[in-house]
């Protein structure tokens, strides 16, 4: 084959591709317009039944029937949208009962074992809207999904069917979830604090890895129940600094004499991260007895410890602020500079930084 023939072949292929791409572009445009028109039609067809259910004229039969007339994907999308933002929980529960056995719901939920994560996510989102007690297995499967977006989307379904086995499975799986999903699931478990409380107390009392302990301490922090936090107190003296830091952070969520004593003790920890977390906790718990230790922390070698100690002192009544003023006159330039920085802040800015 000559080089001219090669070029001719490439040019021909190229021309074909260009024509196909142009056609694809036009088709995409047209399909996009049609898709939006269909979306608008779906919304319009649901407007009247939706209004009736919102005004209390209907229990949702008309809306369920209107959803049933839409294509599966459109019905799923509309149900997620309507249920998520426009209906009260009671109205949503009523509608869920009516559509639960509808073919489009079954088809979407049947995507839960799909290999494509976006299909599993669609199933998870719909499940949040239509979940009932019989869906425990499905919820467990989706909240422990390896794809964070799926696990995250399914988290909203926990409240619809939580029981002790589901809660135990979620608590047990927390250490393996990405941090954001873990936090979401901890927050979701707060609605079932009695079940979660028992599970986390048991979990924290057993020997466990650092990652497990950190996840369960985070759950205890979110639950903020005296029992869960009491289980955290012994971990303030754990050998691992990450566990101690997590414990200091958790213990600031609710005052207890044991917790206050434990975080005050952590102000002397060998690791700066633990000391900084402890200084913050002491401020949050308003432990006035720790003012001398915080004054000492103003001379710490770590900027973060001095910063947190300064903010905590500014929060601890007149005595704390006096200690901060004293630090500003200190011969130690580090303590002096930090005190100048903290005292220069407006109250709003200081509160903002304290909670950041």
């Amino acid at each position: 084959m000559t080089r001219f023939a090669v070029l001719v072949l490439i040019a021909a292929l190229q021309l074909a591709f260009i024509m196909m791409t142009l056609a694809l572009l036009l088709v995409t445009r047209l399909r996009g317009s049609r898709w939006r028109a269909r979306e608008d039609d779906a919304e319009i067809s649901l407007a009247e039944p939706l209004q009736r259910i919102m005004l209390g004229d209907d229990r949702g039969e008309a809306l369920a029937a209107a959803l049933g007339r839409l294509r599966r994907d459109a019905a799923t999308r509309e149900m997620i949208s309507i249920g998520g933002t426009r209906l009260s929980p009671e109205q949503r529960a009523g509608l869920a009962l009516l559509v639960r056995r509808a073919p489009w719901v079954q088809q979407t939920l049947a995507q839960a074992p799909s290999r494509k994560w976006w299909k599993r996510m669609e199933a998870a989102r719909l499940l949040v809207m239509v979940c009932d007690k019989g869906d425990v297995g499905l919820v467990e499967r989706l909240v422990t999904d390896m794809h964070a977006a799926v696990a995250s989307a399914a988290t909203g379904a926990i409240s619809g069917c939580a029981n002790s086995s589901l809660v135990s499975a979620i608590v047990g799986g927390l250490p393996f979830r990405p941090a954001s999903v873990r936090l979401q699931q901890c927050n979701a478990l707060r609605s079932h604090s009695a079940l979660a409380n028992d599970a986390v107390v048991v979990a924290l009392s057993r020997p466990a890895s650092v990652a497990q302990l950190r996840a369960w301490i985070q759950l205890a922090e979110v639950l903020a129940t005296p029992e869960a936090l009491a289980a955290v107190v012994p971990l303030a003296s754990h050998a691992d600094r990450e566990v101690r830091t997590s414990a200091a952070r958790a213990l600031r969520s609710c005052f207890s004499a044991e917790g206050a004593e434990a975080v005050s003790g952590l102000l002397k920890d060998e690791d700066w991260r633990v000391r900084a977390a402890a200084a913050r906790a002491v401020g949050a718990l308003n432990v006035r007895g720790a003012i001398p230790m915080l004054s000492e922390a103003m001379h710490d070698e770590s900027w973060w410890v001095r910063f947190r100690a300064g903010l905590a002192l500014a929060d601890l009544s007149m005595a704390g602020r006096a200690a901060l003023e004293e630090a500003q006159g200190s011969p130690d330039p580090f303590a002096r500079d930090m005190a100048t920085l903290i005292r220069g802040l407006s109250d709003g800015s200081r509160l903002d930084l304290t909670s950041a």
């Binding site: 070029l7 040019a11 190229q14 260009i18 964070a148 977006a149 954001s180 220069g344 802040l345 800015s349």
Partner: protein, 475 residues
């Protein structure tokens, strides 16, 4: 009798030079096609996860890391107050803004002090990365998130280093003071954290703001500028960001994260000594050094590109402005690649040494020289009859066609995913500019890039001044 063999040898040499250029062209375009193919599944993956529902989950999430937004500013008095305000009001659970006044002479610092009620604070941060002398540190009485640094002029990289030193948080976002960052861009940029992915750096899309309607620093109606120069650059940016960089996610990560909008893990930045203050393309230099560092440390952190967080930037509307920009970009590319030449085909650097670096070397840095060589070789071949007119024209047509096809595909990707330009007018403008790019614009930018070699040899390190129309004016 002696002239005949010489003539035959010259003809043969010309023939093989032509063939070499055709082979180079085919290889390069095949690689672009590969990038496009790799970008498609990446884009779809991101598009599916980028919708509002997932973004909503992020809002208020305490687990996404706090971010320090680093804003180097040099003589930005006219816009600095509004830009900083737009950075302060970004939607994000926890972020701070560190503005560095790089020895401005137009009253930039005074404008900041007055509007944000700044007060001087002690130098409470260790200088991990050396910088030009810092005159003073400031905090705002009214915006707790704001820190300002006033320092002597040292260039953009130096300002970023000063900001890296002062940044409190473990992730830093480098932005340009004259870039419009979309309100939810930071949240979108934090998506790898939502997904639990370890990242060292995240790059995002920069789009052309010219022609769009901008109200109070927000792009309310994205439009394609009807003028040829900004219009063609709109297509260029789409091509570069929608598949040029996205495709690299599957090839070990791109060598470029735009200096106007890029997120970095602070510990890595500090470990590699911060930005190279002497570089005119500090954004490329830092990414190559980061790649090398991650590789040498055996870190599992990755360098990613995410297409949906968007920052808008103004592009040059005059040839003079375009010349300054492109000449500087290419000069920076040459300088950076030469200074990191040890990476090339070095097994220690894996895909960086065997894919990314060679591509940027042969496909980007040397491309203008090879293209000119191609024009000359084909001209001479045509003149001497080594190549016929039909063949030469066909080759030109094929090369124009490849460029057009790639630009068209960038438009396709835009249409099937984020669709920022909904009007039919913009749709046809994008296609029109894809067609005319090869006629004139390509040759002009080739000439600009060629001049960078000479300037590089002369050790010219000037940035040049970017002429701007202003966001509200271009709308």
């Amino acid at each position: 009798m002696e002239a005949e063999p010489l003539r035959a040898a010259s003809f043969a040499a010309l023939f093989w030079i032509d063939n070499g250029i055709i082979a180079y062209f085919l290889l390069l375009n095949s690689f672009y096609a590969l990038l496009l193919l790799l970008a498609i599944p990446e884009l779809m993956e991101h598009w599916r996860i980028a919708d509002d529902e997932n973004l909503r989950l992020l809002r208020g999430a305490e687990v996404i890391p706090p971010i320090s937004v680093l804003v180097p500013a040099f003589n930005e008095r006219a816009t600095i107050v509004a830009s900083v305000l737009s950075f302060l009001t970004l939607e994000y659970p926890s972020h701070e803004v560190v503005v560095v006044n790089d020895g401005s002479t137009d009253g930039t610092m005074e404008a900041l002090i007055s509007f944000y009620e700044l007060y001087e604070t002690p130098a409470a941060y260790p200088d991990v990365v050396p910088t030009a002398r810092v005159r003073a540190y400031y905090r705002s009485k009214v915006y707790s998130k704001l820190t300002c640094i006033d320092k002597e002029n040292g260039g953009k990289g130096d300002s970023l280093n000063a900001a890296v030193n002062a940044a409190r948080f473990s992730y830093v976002l480098a932005v340009d003071a004259d870039t419009l960052v979309e309100r939810d861009a930071l949240l979108r940029l934090a998506r790898p954290f939502l997904l639990g992915e370890p990242v060292a750096a995240v790059g995002a899309t920069v789009r052309v703001v010219n022609g769009s309607t901008v109200v109070h620093g927000i792009v309310t109606h994205p439009r394609v500028d009807g003028r040829w120069l900004p219009g063609i650059q709109t297509v260029e940016y789409l091509r570069a960001f929608l598949f040029g960089r996205l495709g690299w996610n599957r090839l070990g990560g791109s060598l470029i994260i735009s200096g106007a909008f890029g997120l970095f893990k602070q510990e890595h930045l500090q470990a590699i000594g911060g930005y190279n203050a002497g570089s005119v393309t500090e954004d490329m230099d830092i990414v190559i050094r980061l790649h090398k560092h991650l590789r040498m440390e055996g870190s599992s952190d990755t360098i990613q590109f995410i297409p949906d967080p968007v920052a808008w930037t103004e592009v040059p509307v005059t040839l003079r402005g375009l010349y300054r920009q492109r000449e500087r970009w290419h000069r920076g590319l040459i300088s950076t690649l030469i200074s990191h030449r040890s990476v090339c085909f070095n097994p220690r650097y894996g895909r960086l040494g065997f894919i990314a670096y060679p591509f940027f070397l042969f496909g980007e840095m040397l491309a203008p020289l090879i293209e000119v060589a191609g024009y000359i070789a084909f001209g001479v071949s045509l003149f001497l009859g080594v190549a016929d007119l039909e063949f030469t024209l066909l080759f030109l047509l094929v090369s124009v066609g490849f460029g057009f096809l790639l630009s068209l595909w960038a438009t396709v990707l835009e249409e099937v995913s984020f669709r920022r330009y909904p009007s039919l007018r913009d749709f046809f403008l994008l296609i029109w500019f894809s067609v005319i790019e090869a006629f004139g614009y390509r040759q002009v930018t080739l000439w600009f890039r060629l001049q960078s070699y000479w300037k590089y040899v002369r050790r010219d390190v000037r940035w040049g001044v970017m002429e701007r129309e202003g966001f509200e004016r271009v709308s």
